[in-house]
């Protein structure tokens, strides 16, 4: 069973993603801030990370860059999400493998996730 870590400070979105991916038979863990990401990644060993750009507390792009810079986590694909489309370039620059604008189409997101996990 593939494991996905969802990091978003909007609890409703987290809930939505959790419901959808569980329905698709993924194993989900969620975080609503960027504070304990490192620990969680080490503990959970996700196959893919869905990461919101504008997290409260810490910027999602900083989180992405940190993960990508560490050998242990650098290979985990990161899909970044944001309601601000202008963050796409900076997100990719920070190491995001893909970017999807909010609001997103569920099928589209699912397709993207499957593409990375195949």
């Amino acid at each position: 069973m593939k494991k996905i870590l969802v990091i978003d400070d909007d609890v409703t979105v987290v809930e939505l993603l959790q419901m959808m991916f569980e329905e698709e038979a993924f194993l989900i863990q969620t975080l609503t801030s960027g504070a304990r990401v490192q620990q969680q990644v080490v503990d959970f060993q996700p196959d893919l990370i869905l990461l919101d750009v504008l997290l409260s507390g810490v910027d999602g792009r900083v989180v992405a860059r940190t993960l990508k810079q560490q050998v242990a986590t650098s290979r985990i694909p990161i899909i970044m999400l944001s309601a601000t489309r202008t963050t796409e370039q900076t997100s990719r620059a920070a190491g995001a493998d893909a970017f999807i604008a909010k609001p997103f189409d569920l099928e589209q997101l699912l397709g993207l996730v499957n593409a990375y996990l195949r």
């Binding site: 979105v13 939505l16 489309r85 609001p103 189409d105």
Partner: protein, 620 residues
């Protein structure tokens, strides 16, 4: 010693003449004696001689007559004839003794003298005539001169002489012989009388330059303001004492007024420019020098005007990132004639400021740009406000989209559930909800885009893509949500274009949604993709309400909406503005063909190679 000696009877008949007569005249005795001698006298003079003898009793003394004598060679010589009477004891003339002396030389001298005198007389007369003509000319000049001329006598300035122009100034009032204070009472206290007195007392002239005066032009008690240039010069008598004042003046009221008008409007302009904090510049494109207002240099961080300023000084002040753009704007200005530029500059203290530069190019007769005139404004504060607004809108948009994300996501989850349960009613309702969420999301996106567009911050990701494919995707989206209108796609284009497929998709989506929105009574929308050698063209034809010709250019303006009062359609009025701008950013253009009630056909064309040059640059 006389040449000739003769005697004659009392009545003048020659009785004797000396031998000299005969030699001179070549006459014989017969041809001489008696009255015959007269034939030797010039016919013009003979009458005179005859008359002299006609009444000899009147002559009691010797008589002298000049008369010409014909000599043997056929010429005449002047002779002075003298005759003295011999009287009897009763006093009667009984005989004449006479002589004749050649006076040719004398006559010649006399003639010369006479000629000289005549000549001198003629000269005097001529001189007099000339003097008279000159006097007349001076008089005419004086009378017709556009200047104000007058002569005042005495310290109280009795008006002695003036020309018509001078009189007109005073409304032709009667002033001759009147002292100045009586002639021009309104001038009391204006300084004019004091000038006259000063000139009279000091003997020194006085000059007035644009000297103001209040004059009763119409002699009706109302005073009009005039400005005069004048000189008051003393004139003196033979003893050198000042007798009066000559006044020569020019009415310069018109000139002063028009200059004042210009000065006032310039002052107003300067006040306006100062109030607007606008700097003004006038650049000589040939020599790269300029004339600027102080504000101009202040905007660039200098408290005083720089000794030299031209393009060579301007560009280094622009921050490096903005410099190539500024240079392009400048080059383009020499072609288009207008300079519009917003960029950042760096002051000597390294602080960065935003400026707005607007200019107009002036050309010489050959059409070469020689001069550029314009204004510069510091827009740092405005830019900061814009940035605040931008980040505020960005935040608003983000905050609006966050709940939309959940709304859309959960709706889609429910749609999946409904599909599994095969509940078409439920599914249809959810489809409606989803449609509205998409619409709401598009509105938020458009709002944000339009703000960015104003600041040229709309981001593009240019790639090679298939326009035909893009059209089909957009049409598919509409087919999903639009069940009433049938969407037909005609034509295809194999060749790829270089552009941002998302932005172009936005354009196609915008014109299709307009086509649907504005054709509520029709059920067909035709989308056509075609090409010409340079462009791919996309057209969307609807059969709806159409657009009046008067609105056709305006609909591409921001926030423009056609309001007819009868039919109203919701919307913000930014879709077409945004679309046209996106198309323009692709180097293409957008247009509409329509007539009211006849539907509309919106088209845009994008050059295949439009931005390829830039792409090649980026790859280098």
């Amino acid at each position: 010693m006389p040449d000739l000696v003769w005697t004659a009877s009392a009545d003048g008949a020659f009785e004797y003449t000396n031998q000299r007569w005969y030699i001179l005249t070549g006459l014989t005795v017969e041809q001489t004696l008696g009255w015959a001698w007269l034939q030797a006298i010039h016919p013009d003079d003979a009458g005179l001689l005859r008359m002299a003898w006609a009444e000899p009793q009147l002559i009691d003394e010797a008589m002298t007559i000049d008369a010409r004598l014909g000599v043997v060679d056929g010429t005449y010589r002047w002779y002075r004839w003298r005759a003295a009477p011999v009287r009897d004891p009763h006093g009667n003339v009984v005989q004449w003794y006479g002589s004749g002396s050649a006076i040719d030389d004398l006559r010649r001298v006399e003639a010369t003298l006479r000629a000289d005198r005549d000549c001198m007389l003629a000269r005097v007369q001529q001189a007099q005539a000339e003097a008279e003509a000159e006097r007349q000319r001076l008089h005419d000049l004086f009378m017709q001169a556009p200047a104000l001329i007058a002569i005042l006598r005495g310290r109280d300035g009795v008006c002695e002489l003036f020309n018509p122009r001078f009189m007109q100034l005073w409304g032709d009032r009667q002033v001759l012989g009147k002292p100045m204070r009586e002639a021009w009472p309104e001038l009391e206290g204006q300084g004019y009388f004091e000038f006259v007195e000063h000139v009279f007392d000091s003997g020194q002239p006085v000059f007035g330059n644009e000297y103001p005066g209040l004059i009763d032009h119409g002699n009706d008690g109302t005073l009009d303001e005039v400005f005069l240039n004048f000189v008051y010069v003393p004139y003196r008598n033979a003893q050198g004492q000042v007798e009066g004042i000559m006044i020569h003046g020019v009415d310069v009221t018109e000139q002063v007024r028009s200059r004042q008008t210009i000065e006032e409007s310039e002052q107003r302009l300067n006040l306006a420019l100062a109030a607007a904090q606008v700097g003004v510049w006038d650049l000589d494109l040939i020599h790269d020098t300029s004339v600027r207002s102080l504000r101009h240099d202040e905007i660039f961080g200098y408290s005083t005007l720089r000794p030299k300023w031209g393009a060579a000084e301007f560009f280094p002040h622009i921050v490096a990132d903005d410099r190539p753009y500024a240079q392009r704007c400048f080059e383009r200005a020499t072609e288009t004639g207008r300079l519009v530029l917003q960029c950042r500059i760096q002051w000597a203290d390294e602080s960065v400021h935003w400026i707005d530069v607007q200019g107009q190019v002036l050309r010489d007769q050959q059409g070469q740009p020689v001069r550029m005139l314009g204004v510069v404004t510091d827009i740092t504060e405005r830019k900061q406000l814009e940035q605040q607004k931008d980040s505020f809108l960005s935040m608003v948009s983000h905050e609006l989209k966050t709940p939309l994300t959940s709304l859309q996501g959960f709706t889609q989850l429910m749609q999946r559930t409904a599909a599994k349960r095969q509940d078409p009613t439920y599914e249809r309702h959810l489809l409606k909800i989803n449609e509205q969420i998409v619409r709401l999301n598009n509105l938020v996106t458009d709002l944000l885009d339009v703000t960015r567009l104003q600041q040229s911050k709309l981001q593009y990701r240019f790639v090679d893509f298939s326009m035909a494919q893009c059209v089909i995707e957009m049409v598919e989206n509409f087919r999903e949500i639009s069940h009433y209108h049938q969407l037909v796609v005609n034509g295809t284009v194999a060749r790829q274009v270089y552009g941002d497929p998302n932005r172009i998709g936005q354009v196609i989506s915008n014109i299709i949604s307009n086509a649907i929105k504005y054709s509520p009574q029709a059920d067909l929308v035709v989308v056509t993709v075609s090409e010409d050698p340079q462009h791919v063209v996309v057209s969307v034809q609807d059969f709806g309400i159409g657009i009046d010709a008067q609105h056709q250019t305006m609909i591409f303006e921001r926030f423009y909406r056609v309001l007819d009062g009868q039919e109203t359609f919701p919307g913000l009025g930014i879709g077409l503005y945004l679309s046209a701008e996106i198309v323009r950013q692709h180097g293409g253009r957008m247009w509409v063909e329509s007539a009211k009630g006849q539907g509309a056909r919106f088209s845009f064309s994008i050059p295949f190679a439009g931005r390829a040059a830039e792409r090649d640059e980026e790859q280098l």
